[in-house]
Amino acid sequence: MSTSVLPAAGAHEALETTAARESTRGLVEITKVRKSFGATEVLKGISLTVEPGGVAVIVGPSGSGKSTLLRTINHLEKVDAGFIAIDGTLVGYEVRGRKLHELREKEILRQRTEIGMVFQNFNLFPHLTALENVTEAPVVAPRAGKPRLSKAEALERGLELLDRVGLKDRAGAYPRQLSGGQQQRVAIARALALDPKILLFDEPTSALDPELVNEVLDVIRELANSGTTLIIVTHEMGFARDVADTVVFMDQGQIVEQDTPEKIFTNPQEDRTRSFFSKVIEPAFNI
């Protein structure tokens, strides 16, 4: 077993090694997904595949359906048509013969424990300390193929994770007592506590002061090397270029273009993509 990936190694090098090591963990297949809210169709037949251990960054103007797509992956939003599979297993449905049976609440919860999610507004539980936020789910959530953790195990793992995001000394603090960046790092630790195959980031830095953005991006950057599949919705283009192996550009409920960051940022094929990037990337971007 080749073990730890050196932090100094480039993101893409690291991805290759981890992808080779764990090829069956965290394959996301989204096929012709449609979703409407009332009369507005926000997802108009989205198809997207993210390889195990891959890092897909979804960019696009607001209202393009990025967040909705992300939320369909862990079944927070039910899709109207199409399907989403993780490692070949449908999300939210069970195949029996030629029928798709809608899963019951408990089964959906079990599936969700394999998909961590980090929200724009952190959504930490304000009445629980940082550590309690992290240890809550592993003790009570029904987990797929894994036993629930005991209180003591969860505590140990919780401290380990808080240490990983650099907040071990703030374990006893309530979210209100933490800065936005620290809160988001706790939220990432909380999502990691279930040891998910896939991590979804819904604009993780949009609610942060500019000076706090990097401390969160650094944590995510490190996760990109860990072999977990990451799907990230963000407006941080520099970060996208840095960490993604696929950049997906969405507009008006459709995927306009997807490619490696080098290609899509320097030579976008579609006019819509080009005009979007010209607006969001300031000229002094190439550092």
């Binding site: 862990n74 927070l76 609440e105 408990k106 919860l109 079990r110 969700r112 424990t113 998909i115 961590g116 999610m117 929200f119 507004n121 959504n123 930490l124 539980f125 304000p126 009445h127 629980l128 809550e136 789910a137 009570v140 959530a141 029904p142 987990r143 309530y174 979210p175 209100r176 007592q177 909380r190 999502a191 279930l194």
Partner: protein
């Protein structure tokens, strides 16, 4: 950025101390080329060499250095006037209460701790505790039903609240007590068959106590369901989403994540309800149930000392409410953790702080300013 800017601002007014003060000032003046490359240094320091020969430096000293000044708190003279007026009114009322012989304080004192009154008081407390607890538990379940995805549960919960909020408590109470007139026997079995698991005479089953508890509980449940539902709705939807995304089961989501946060919105109104219930129990006098109010009535019908005995009951209700208010304060404080950065001080801590700050005022304020 600010770390380079502040020493300049602080050192400028202190030309007397050469150690720290001189270094940032002299750097631009001495024009040691490469050191000035930082953006921040020239800007605040630039006016200094120009101002140095003139009167500017003394003006700047006066403008920035307040460290030795004494802090004078804002005065509120009208508060003192208002306090005097209120104090005068309170004194007047107290005087009249003490001197008017018709209040018959002697009679009040005589009955206040009489055995029958204490027994009535205990019955009142018992009714409040039992129907309050059962009412809120049932109310919580009704609230969850109302918020559930099942149309059946929603409509059952809605109908329950509708019926019990639309009928007078007095009528409900009499109805429960007279249930034996409507249904002679109560039995549990399979409907439309002769199979019976349990059967009893309604009149033996529904005593005065049972009717009182039943009436108060169901009524309380209907109201507390709405209070709890309101509290739950006040919790951010993102909390539920985060909990669902983490795979936390529904019951645990309600009890561990949502309810503790909802409590902040629920508690003030809930205590209102409980305090209302304490006095609301007096309505069971219609069932001739010997709680506090009924006991008092029985006594004054015999002794004709109506007002003093009502005063006895009133004083006890005030005592109960006061104790509940103290509980309310500390329970609300408990649930405010996480919602506020620092917990509000308890009255005891406030008193201590008041004494501490009002004795040696100057030292504390300068220290506080120093840390800023």
């Amino acid at each position: 950025m600010s770390s380079t800017a502040t020493p300049v601002a602080q050192s400028a007014p202190e030309p007397a101390s050469p150690g720290a003060g001189t270094t940032p000032d002299t750097t631009p003046a001495g024009s040691s080329g490469p050191a000035v490359l930082e953006h921040d240094v020239p800007e605040p320091a630039a006016p200094t060499p120009a101002d140095q020969p003139g009167t500017g430096s003394t003006a700047r000293k006066a403008a920035t250095d307040y460290a030795d000044y004494r802090l004078v708190p804002a005065r509120h003279p009208w508060r003192w006037v208002g306090t005097a007026v209120v104090a005068f009114g309170v004194a007047g009322i107290a005087w009249s209460l003490a001197t008017n012989p018709r209040w018959e304080w002697g009679v009040v004192a005589q009955w206040f701790t009489a055995q029958s009154i204490v027994n009535g008081l205990l019955e009142t407390l018992k009714l409040t505790a039992i129907s309050g607890a059962l009412g809120f538990i049932l109310g919580f379940i009704l609230a969850l039903m109302r918020l559930s995805a099942s149309p059946l549960l929603v409509s059952v919960s809605w109908t329950f609240s509708w019926i019990f909020r639309s009928t007078p408590l007095l009528v409900q109470m009499l109805l429960w007590y007279n249930l034996g007139y409507l249904y002679e026997k109560i039995s549990l079995g399979l409907p439309f068959t002769d199979v019976r698991f349990f059967e009893a005479q309604t009149t033996t089953l529904i005593s005065q106590f049972a009717a009182a508890v039943l009436g108060l509980t169901l009524n309380q449940a209907a109201y507390s369901a709405e209070i709890i539902r309101g509290g739950i709705l006040s919790v951010d939807q993102g909390q539920l989403e985060a909990a669902a995304a983490l795979g936390i089961p529904a019951w645990r989501r309600s009890t561990r994540i949502v309810l503790p946060q909802a409590m902040r919105a629920i508690l003030p109104t809930a205590f209102n309800e409980v305090i209302g219930l304490v006095k609301g129990t007096s309505i069971v006098y219609v069932l001739a149930y010997s709680e506090l109010f009924y006991t008092v009535q029985v006594i004054y019908n015999r002794t004709q000392q109506v007002l003093p005995l009502l005063l006895v009951a009133t004083l006890w209700y005030i005592v109960i409410t006061s104790v509940l208010s103290v509980f309310q304060y500390y329970i609300e404080r408990h649930y405010s953790k996480g919602a506020v950065r620092t917990l509000p001080l308890t009255p005891l801590q406030k008193a201590r702080k008041f004494l501490a700050t009002h004795a040696p005022a100057t030292r504390e304020t300068t220290q506080e300013r120093g840390t800023r």
